[in-house]
């Protein structure tokens, strides 16, 4: 990667000593700055807590850095020159909880110095862990230093990293939106980088235009690690507490914005959104909003993709190539569903093995998971005739994995979808019931193979003639088939009818499924099984027409070992919501919390 080599052997001032090899590295003590300086200065040894604050504001740090020789501690930094900006004062950019300065060092290198404007709750542990672990090329090495900067007569920690030469994604798009080949090269880099993160057990947590630096060679480097999560790559177990911020709403699943937290696959949604946005911009440069807030879609669009956001989504999807369009439709549907990929939610709910993981990483799931998995949500009113087999144990969990290692890779999402397209060549009406306007410019999908992978020739509204009507519905467990949930079981129905899910493809391993899956024959199984080489899994995408259950007065809930979850009232249920409450003590009998409100329950 031809850039300012942030991963090269490093100057001493930020290269924190490695964490001890033994013991859980996430609990590594705060890294000590390597160069004890200022004889007699009261440098505390690695300490276990941060100053509580109140933390300085950005202007306090600007004041301090007018005299780096007195404000900073390490010699290399004290000799540095902050780059100047407005009013000839040190240039600073501000983020959610930090002010970032650019320092030119005497050795010719440049450094980003991040000073906190609110208490970084996970700071020392997270950054010490990052400093001690091998990082992928798409990240800049970081150092955490206690007591480095004096502002308001108090010493505060800072995070440093080499200044990454390049442009933020939005600035890059300002000048490159009309160069589809560059954008496509960037898409490739981005996919690779996101997958690298995943392979290193890292979820960035806040992928967005301001945190993605594009270098001269169209490589990407991610910056701003305050929302980052680390995971054990073998067990998937979270090694850091969840961040307090859920990332930029224009790039996150609406439910994650509402509920916070971060999980192993938290970058999948934003990475997919960014990837497809780039594809759309490559095809139609004017789709780029260029407003510094988002690329193509906004939080409002993601929040209501078939209502207020329908027009934006239609334009977005119709700009995509045939390959990408399927992913775009899945993304659209995903917005209306849980942000959690059920396989992992289910893995976490096998909490007899991993109680701490479940409790730490998904706090809302402890009592009443607001998880609306497909199998919980997909009961359409039309299917009530034979639903709810008596005696079936709670909500169906046909896809219960037996171990929690099966988590979803971002690459599987990005690449798997493209591959999936070839498998359901016949399923041309996959989403036709939900997005009529985007279909106007959709060519028949039996030309998928010739659609190619570049998006630049797509989306201009060109329509290839449909030479024959779509094939009749085939009631087989195969890609393109439509499924209705009846009780705990999936039942194939003609796609022209009301259905809850569409089979995206058949595969041998659930890890290849982007969203939901169940055993190929749709049968209920209390344990997950993997076929040995045979196509034994159906990956499905929920149909946008399926009814989404929600917490509301009058809703019925069934108690399950995930907690309470909404079910159609005509099925077996344990509780009904009688009222909402600001205070659980208002409730006469039982109550639950969905992350926002308390709900009173009665049996």
């Amino acid at each position: 990667m031809d850039r300012e080599t942030p991963n090269d052997p490093n100057p001493a001032w930020w290269n924190t000593p490695s964490a001890p090899a033994s013991g859980p590295w996430y609990s590594t003590r705060t890294a000590e700055p390597p160069t004890p300086t200022k004889t007699g200065s009261p440098r505390t040894p690695a300490r276990s807590h941060l100053p509580d604050g109140p933390y300085p504001s950005a202007s306090d740090y600007v004041t301090a850095l007018q005299a780096p020789a007195t404000a900073l501690t390490q010699p290399e930094l004290r000799a540095a020159s902050p780059r100047s900006g407005m009013f000839g004062l040190p240039a600073v950019t501000t983020g959610q909880n930090a002010a970032v300065f650019t320092l030119d060092l005497t050795d010719g290198s440049t450094l980003a110095l991040r000073a906190f404007t609110s208490k970084p709750s996970r700071g020392p542990e997270l950054y010490a862990a990052l400093a001690a672990m091998p990082l992928p090329d798409c990240m800049a090495p970081v150092g955490w230093f206690d007591d480095e900067i004096t502002a308001d007569n108090t010493r505060w920690p800072v995070v440093t990293m080499p200044w990454v030469e390049g442009l933020t994604l939005e600035r890059w798009l300002d000048t490159h939106r009309n160069y589809p080949h560059r954008i496509n090269a960037l898409r490739h880099s981005l996919r690779t980088a996101v997958d690298e993160l995943y392979d290193h057990g890292i979820a960035h947590g806040d992928l967005q235009h301001g945190n993605i630096i594009v270098t001269d060679t169209d490589e990407v480097v991610f910056v701003d690690y305050d929302g980052l999560m680390l995971f054990d790559t073998n067990t998937g177990q979270a090694l850091t507490p969840p961040p307090t911020e859920a990332g930029h709403p224009n790039y996150q699943h609406p439910q994650r914005i509402a509920q916070g937290g971060a999980e192993r696959y938290s970058d999948t949604f934003s990475a997919t959104l960014i990837d497809l946005s780039l594809a759309a911009i490559a095809a139609q440069p004017d789709l780029y909003r260029a407003d510094g807030n988002s690329l193509v879609l906004t939080a409002e669009d993601l929040d209501d993709p078939n209502g207020r956001g329908a027009t934006s989504f239609d334009r977005f999807i119709s700009a995509l190539s045939e390959d990408d369009r399927t992913t775009g439709q899945l993304l659209r549907t995903w917005c209306t569903r849980t942000h959690q990929l059920p396989i992992t939610a289910a893995a976490l709910s096998t909490s007899s093995e991993l109680p701490n993981t479940a409790a730490r990483s998904t706090p809302h799931q402890q009592r009443s998971a607001p998880v609306t998995k497909l199998e919980q949500t997909s009961h359409s009113p039309a299917s009530n005739g034979s639903s709810g087999r008596p005696g079936s144990p709670g909500v169906s969990r046909p896809n219960q994995p037996s171990e929690p290692r099966q988590v979803f890779s971002a690459l599987a999402w990005l690449a798997g979808i493209a591959a999936a397209l070839f498998l359901f060549v016949g399923g041309s009406d996959l989403f036709s019931d939900t997005t009529p306007s985007s279909q106007q410019s959709t060519s028949s999908s039996n030309s998928a193979a010739s659609a190619g992978s570049s998006g630049q020739d797509q989306g201009s509204g060109s329509t290839s003639q449909r030479s024959e009507p779509p094939p009749p519905p085939q009631l087989e467990w195969e890609a393109g088939s439509c499924v209705r949930m009846v009780g705990d079981q999936g039942e194939l129905v003609p796609c022209s009818q009301s259905h809850d899910a569409v089979i995206v493809r058949q595969t041998s391993s659930s890890t290849n499924c982007p969203m939901y899956y169940w055993p190929a024959d749709g049968a209920t199984s209390s344990f997950w099984f993997e076929g040995s080489g045979s196509m034994s899994v159906s990956c499905v995408a929920p149909s946008a027409g399926a009814q989404v259950m929600d917490y509301r007065i009058g809703a019925c809930l069934r108690e399950d070992w995930d907690g309470l979850m909404p079910v159609p009232c005509h099925t077996r249920y344990d509780f009904r919501i009688t009222q909402s409450a600001n205070d659980p003590s208002w409730c006469p009998d039982y109550y639950m919390e969905d992350g926002w409100d308390y709900w009173c329950l009665s049996r």
């Binding site: 604050g53 407005m86 000839g88 004062l89 807030n293």
Partner: protein
């Protein structure tokens, strides 16, 4: 839930400061030999700079239009309005009540050099100079603030609700200001009601910060300001907590007999938002 709107260029936020410039502002602020007008000017300049910095998201570009910043002063004759309350920006911005954060960033009066407590020479931008003279026509000022806020809301119906920060040191000389404050607090965007916070620099009463109980406001003047103040929404209480203050649930946006550090805290709480401006 109110106060959830993110601040971005499509939905800028309004921070309107209404500043007492009456003659009594020449007195010293609590616990210091600094004139109130100087303490106020320092706090205003600091918070204006802070708000401008919040608009800088990229080292390669200037501040963005995330805020409209308003300054209304009252007391001396105001050349712009012909009354005793009016726009308080000066220099190139004189005559404007509301100015975008971009214009503010481009038009400081000067960058001042001063010597800090440790003897170091420090530079800081200045927009607002101390002013004092005349009576305390609080009603006139709040009326102007209301008109300004209402027309801003017409242009930004879905923005984060306006925040009006009022600083005074005394009693209104043109009638009960609660008439005006009540109207002001009823103005609303789709994201919630405008918020009115009041800071008294009066040194007569007991110091109190963000009280929930009206009894804590001892004097009549203080009770009036208590009544005028919005109940702090949770995000402002959280900002107060981050600044080291526990604010009770029904705590009002009211600080009485503030010393210099409390003035700064008051402005920080008043300019808190749920979300930092978009990144």
């Amino acid at each position: 839930m109110p106060y959830q709107q993110r601040i971005d260029r499509a939905n800028p936020a309004l921070v309107l400061m209404v500043l007492d410039q009456s003659a009594s502002m020449r007195d010293n602020v609590a616990g210091a030999d600094t004139g109130k007008q100087y303490a106020l000017a320092e706090a205003v300049n600091r918070i204006v700079y802070e708000l401008v910095l919040r608009c800088v998201k990229n080292a390669a570009e200037g501040p963005r239009h995330y805020y409209d910043l308003g300054l209304i002063g009252y007391g001396p004759d105001n050349p712009s309005t012909g009354g005793n309350a009016g726009p308080a920006w000066s220099g190139a911005l004189a005559g404007n009540t509301l100015v975008s954060s971009v214009e503010v960033a481009h038009n400081p009066l000067r960058v001042e050099t001063y010597t800090d407590a440790g003897g170091a020479s420090v530079r800081t931008p200045v927009w607002y100079e101390p002013v004092s003279g005349g009576t305390t026509p609080m009603g006139e000022a709040l009326h102007l603030a209301g008109a300004t806020t209402a027309s801003w809301i017409e242009r930004h119906p879905h923005s984060f609700p306006p925040v009006i920060i009022h600083v005074t040191d005394g009693m209104s000389t043109d009638g009960d200001p609660r008439v005006w404050s009540e109207r002001l607090r009823q103005l609303a965007t789709s994201d919630g009601n405008a918020l009115l916070l009041n800071l008294s620099l009066s040194t007569r009463d007991e110091a109190v910060q963000f009280p929930a109980d009206r009894k804590q406001a001892r004097s009549k003047d203080a009770k009036v300001l208590f009544d005028m103040s919005s109940v702090l929404p949770p995000f402002m209480r959280a900002a107060a907590r981050a600044a080291g203050l526990e604010v009770p649930e029904e705590g009002r946006g009211f600080v009485n007999n503030a010393d210099i550090s409390q003035v700064v805290t008051f402005f920080q709480v008043g300019t808190a938002t749920v979300h930092q401006p978009a990144g």
